[in-house]
């Protein structure tokens, strides 16, 4: 009997100690203010706090390069995250540890042609760029690396959800001026444009207008004004009759346009009935599409650093890395 009582007492003490330990352990770690679901990131003593999630897990990836032997890459503004994604993937680093600078499209072509860089990630060469290469005796080898689309958007309250390609052209030549002409309400179309040196303006001219003359937008409709087109189109009071445009990648990454607050007010217009999303862009059903390209000097020999990198970018790891940062893979 004594033995059992002894065991009982011992058992009680042990359980009490365990519970006490759990209590203190939990409450000590909850110093500071906790609110449900939003804990402030503690302990991270860095100058720049990193709010974003990791783009992809840094696991047991094989590193192909170190910082010293990565080929020299340049490109357009819109391919900066792409170039970073590739470099991080192939060095087995985090994207946040890679910082690059692109010269923008035209200087990138210049540097490729002069031999200053090994490989560029850019939009399709223009007439001028082809001529420049020809003059230098360089043949450009151009290969698409990711898909891109040119998108139009309007306010969610606008009943018009899709336009034909021709209708879009006519809106911007000024032939169509009212939403009722395209199946909407009787409201004048406020067709904002961008300033001449912007990527999106170049895009609409090349991919949509194709030689047709864009109307002169009234001064207040040219965006050099204070507000981004997205904020104007999404405006509760005044956005209903507005239409804007951009590259799919810009719109989706800058504004997370596929969800959250902006999506509540912005609608990506379908073109010829097809709405733009990763699938329709990849499979080609969305009609206003383009690509970003890897461009190298065609004279690069087999197995050269540029060619090897190019193959890696087009390969599975490269494409996965590109998609992880929001591009539409091939």
């Amino acid at each position: 009997m004594n033995k059992n009582v002894g065991i009982l007492i011992a058992g009680i003490i042990v359980i009490a100690l365990i519970c006490g330990g759990v209590y203190y352990g939990v409450t000590r770690n909850n110093i500071g203010i906790l609110s449900d679901g939003q804990k402030s990131k503690s302990g991270e003593m860095v100058v720049n706090s990193n709010d974003t999630e990791e783009d992809f897990v840094i696991g047991e990836r094989e590193a192909f390069y170190t910082d010293d032997d990565y080929p020299v890459v340049d490109g357009s503004t819109a391919t900066i995250p792409l170039a970073e994604a590739f470099e991080a993937e192939f060095k087995a680093k985090s994207v946040n540890d890679v910082n690059i600078k692109h010269s923008t499209t035209h200087p990138a072509y210049e540097r490729l042609i002069s031999g200053e860089v090994d490989l560029i990630l850019v939009t399709y060469p223009s007439e001028e760029e082809f001529k420049m290469a020809e003059k230098a005796g360089v043949e450009l080898e151009i290969t698409p690396v990711v898909n891109e689309a040119f998108v139009f958007y309007n306010n969610i309250l606008n009943p018009v959800k899709s336009l034909t390609f021709e209708q879009i052209q006519k809106i911007y030549t000024g032939e169509i001026t009212n939403w009722k002409e395209v199946g909407g309400e009787d409201l004048p179309i406020k067709a904002y444009q961008r300033e001449p040196n912007s990527g999106s303006q170049t895009g609409i001219l090349k991919l949509v207008m194709k030689g047709l003359k864009m109307m002169d937008a009234p001064v207040e409709d040219i965006i050099g004004e204070m507000f981004s087109i997205i904020s104007l189109v999404s405006d509760y009071d005044n956005g209903k009759n507005a239409i804007g445009y951009s590259y799919y990648y810009y719109a989706t990454t800058m504004y997370d346009i596929m969800d959250k607050e902006i999506a509540d007010r912005i609608h990506l217009l379908g073109v010829n009935g097809i709405e733009p999303n990763n699938q329709t862009i990849k499979d080609g059903s969305y009609p206003i599409r383009t690509n970003y390209y890897i461009v190298i000097n065609a004279a690069e020999p087999e197995g050269s650093p540029a060619r090897v990198l190019k193959d890696r970018m087009l390969g599975e790891r490269g494409q996965k890395a590109a998609e992880a940062v929001g591009y539409v893979g091939m």
Binding site: D36, Q38, S49, P81, K101, G199, M254
Partner: protein, 598 residues
């Protein structure tokens, strides 16, 4: 006791113990003041009597009830620290101070109950200061770490560095045609602490939960880029006789630049600080050449007032017990509308009204200094009113600030703005004028976009001025604006304000311009004459000991006091000496019971 009983008893005890432990843990967590702040709905309405008691004889019902909540300033002490390396040198021959090759200015705080947390914060501040020091050879490197915001148990710190490098012959940028061969590098960043834990907070802590602040920042960033674009110099093309947009210098369009910077934001290459009026976000473009600062970083300012239902920082780190040794500060401020709270007004007979809003967010020392200045203005204008009985003087004084530091003498962080209008008498109706002012202040901006307080500032003033212009049927309205040291007078023919450098503000007498006669002194009482007497010295910057004179002159816009300076009669001009004599004789005459005609 049988084994069976033993097991049953132990099991029951174990279950009870687990339940009790769970309940205790639950209570422990809930007792901390972590409130889940949803957007809107959590605004605490507190009525205060402060405003009501300071108003006199004016219709109080117009927007007086102040429904804004208050927060407390942090009750900590700041001690400035400086580290130097190398031998002091005078950068320029006329310098009065020494520069050092390396100078790191930072600070440490004291006054927190929890010394571990205090040490942690101070360590981090010091680490930041020393880490900011750029590497490389340079003539001079400076790091400066300062308090940027200090309220509601949050401490924001700004840090910046600059580096001067002398170029050498052979350097590609060396300019052989010039003596000027220096490269400047600079950069900055912020960190923000939660003083209840000593940890650095994230941007998400500033806003209410689940708010998509990235959208807000993307739009504000665009605003900022577009603003610059708008005001850059456009290039004239004589062939087409038009102006063309500024060269983009290879940076691409606005959307492209916005994209580059938002990409950096996504990567976490940004820092932020909070002040009582704004959230300041600095996005670093990590890929750019630090020598070319354009777009190497970009600041975005989010005005707290416009987004008040999205801002959670004033409540986020509240505690039930004070975390300060001296207890919570008495220094309570209003949320958001503090700079426009109409807290005090003065009225003098029917000639003169001065409305001013007491900027609620400044420390005691400055508050006293400001009151002294204000009293000085009031007495100056009283004298004016006596001399100009046919006019009505309306003066609106308001104070705006850049950001609030915690140093009592950080007066240069503030700007005094004055709108001074001389109207024909009886034109200004105080009730409707007051109405106009309050309504403009309470609704300074219409759209969500115009939230940076700079815009609000001018909107209020311009509304008030427009109102004055509307009521002035005589066309003789004289409006002068004084902002931060310069006069702007409304030029009717020009249709707007022009800097008015020769504006002779109010002097009792033009005692430096001409020899005065008894005629000129008619109508002035002893007080005014006494002022006129001292005014002669004041023009030279005399530092007055007498409190009321001191306060009067400090209220004068033209007065440029030189600390400690005592002006002697010998320094005055001949004209001034003669006038001095006349004035003192007149005072003596009046004191002995004499009377001058009025």
């Amino acid at each position: 006791m049988s084994k069976k009983v033993l097991i049953i008893v132990l099991s029951i005890f174990a279950v009870l113990a687990i339940m009790v432990t769970g309940v205790l843990i639950g209570f422990s967590i809930n007792s901390r003041k972590g409130s889940k702040l949803e957007s809107s709905g959590d605004v605490i309405v507190e009525q205060t009597n402060d405003i009501v008691t300071n108003l006199r004889e004016i219709d109080y019902t117009l927007g007086i009830k102040n429904l804004n909540d208050k927060f407390t300033m942090n009750n900590i002490e700041i001690e400035d620290l400086k580290y130097t390396e190398g031998k002091g040198f005078k950068r320029y021959s006329w310098s009065t101070t020494y520069d050092y090759p390396i100078e790191i200015s930072y600070f440490r705080i004291s006054g927190l109950k929890n010394k571990q947390i205090q040490d942690k914060v101070n360590e981090r501040i010091k680490e930041l200061a020393f880490n900011m020091l750029p590497s490389g050879e340079a003539e001079k490197k400076t790091v400066s770490v300062n308090v940027h915001g200090n309220f509601a148990n949050v401490l924001s710190v700004s840090a910046s560095y600059s580096m001067d490098v002398q170029r050498k012959p052979g350097d590609p940028n060396f300019n052989y045609d010039s003596d000027y061969n220096r490269d400047y590098y600079y950069g900055s960043c912020y960190i923000t602490f939660d003083l209840t834990t000593g940890n650095e907070i994230t941007l998400a802590d500033v806003f209410v939960d689940n708010y998509n602040f990235k959208q807000l920042i993307a739009n504000k960033l665009y605003n900022s880029l577009a603003w610059d674009y708008e005001y850059q110099e456009w290039i004239y093309d004589p062939e087409t006789d038009t102006y063309n947009p500024p060269e983009d210098q290879g940076r691409g369009g606005l959307e492209d630049r916005q994209f580059i910077l938002m990409h950096q934001f996504d990567k976490g290459n940004y820092s932020f600080a909070v002040t009582q009026s704004s959230v300041d976000v600095s996005i670093q473009n990590a890929g750019t050449d630090p020598f070319n600062p354009y777009d190497s970083s970009r600041n975005v300012y989010i005005g707290m007032e416009a987004y008040k239902d999205k801002i959670a920082i004033f409540n986020r780190f509240q505690t039930e017990q004070s975390i300060y040794e001296k207890g919570d500060s008495d220094d309570k401020r209003y949320y958001f509308i503090s700079e426009y709270t109409l807290k005090d007004m003065h009225e003098f007979d029917d000639n003169l009204f001065i409305y001013y809003n007491e900027e609620a967010s400044y420390r005691e020392g400055y508050e006293m200094q400001y009151k002294e200045w204000l009293n000085g203005r009031i007495s100056a204008e009283k004298t004016y009113a006596k001399q100009n009985p046919s006019k009505q003087l309306v003066e609106f004084i308001y104070q705006t600030y850049d950001y609030v530091g915690t140093y009592p003498d950080n007066a240069e962080g503030y700007m005094i703005n004055i709108v001074r209008a001389e109207l024909p008498k009886n034109v200004f109706d105080k009730a409707s004028g007051m109405d106009k002012l309050i309504n403009t202040i309470r609704h300074p901006v219409d759209t969500e976009e115009e939230d940076y307080w700079y815009y609000s500032d001018d909107t209020i003033v311009e509304s008030f001025i427009k109102y004055l212009q509307d009521i002035d049927t005589s066309g003789s309205l004289d409006i002068v604006k004084w902002k931060n040291g310069a006069y702007y007078k409304y030029d009717r023919s020009y249709g707007s304000y022009r800097e008015y450098l020769d504006y002779d503000t109010f002097f009792v007498l033009p005692s430096d311009e001409k020899v005065l006669t008894e005629e000129d002194l008619k109508g002035l009482d002893i007080e005014a004459l006494n002022t006129a007497y001292n005014e002669i010295f004041a023009r030279y910057g005399h530092d007055f000991t007498n409190k009321s004179l001191r306060s009067y002159f400090l209220g004068q816009l033209w007065y440029a006091m030189e600390s400690g300076k005592k002006v002697s009669v010998e320094e005055l001009s001949d004209v001034e000496k003669v006038n001095l004599d006349l004035i003192s004789k007149t005072i003596a005459f009046l004191r002995s019971g004499g009377v001058t005609e009025t």
